[in-house]
Symmetry: C2
Subunit: 116 residues, 2 copies
Amino acid sequence: MNGVDLAQKLATFSEHYRPRTVGQFNGHDLMVAKVKGPFVWHRHEDTDDFFLVLKGRIRIELRDGNVELGPGELYVVPKGVEHRPVADDEAHILLIERSGTPNTGDAATAAPRVVI
Amino acid sequence: MNGVDLAQKLATFSEHYRPRTVGQFNGHDLMVAKVKGPFVWHRHEDTDDFFLVLKGRIRIELRDGNVELGPGELYVVPKGVEHRPVADDEAHILLIERSGTPNTGDAATAAPRVVI
């Protein structure tokens, strides 16, 4: 049996803000993503949003302040809280959200869920 | 606002198999732990068990095979599946389980939940 090598999964794609699902956990998707530049402001009404930086740095902008994260640092955006991830340079992250959560907070604009 | 620096949290304690809770996510505890040697065989009837190695290596023994994990590798033990984590040398891990899950699978023998 094999574990999931996150760096190996990240090496298989290059698009930004297109998470890949690499596992499941208690009704949640475990996803890796490459991010660069600003994402859109959004919120998830039904799920907290887990971010762990694997490589590089990201900033999670909130309406009342920012959270700066480097490798090995995590932050959970509580459900319902508006936020915008931004990366000045490319960064790699582990994301966890309830399965089926649209990454933009809106099914109409969300990236498709891709399992690798 | 600050993120959670996992290495900084891990530097605050030395005991093995005594997870520290560093955050909450959708009714789950986010925990860091130092592990060394074999843990006990156990299962969690009500929750999957998320392991991500941050430093060192662990082996998750299952009744029908083992999973070897190094830094940046994760594995989810499905609920109900008997398992035993083992680390030949000290390793550091991120664990996620439903809040209140006894780490041994049995409240009578579980390590107390400690929030740091």
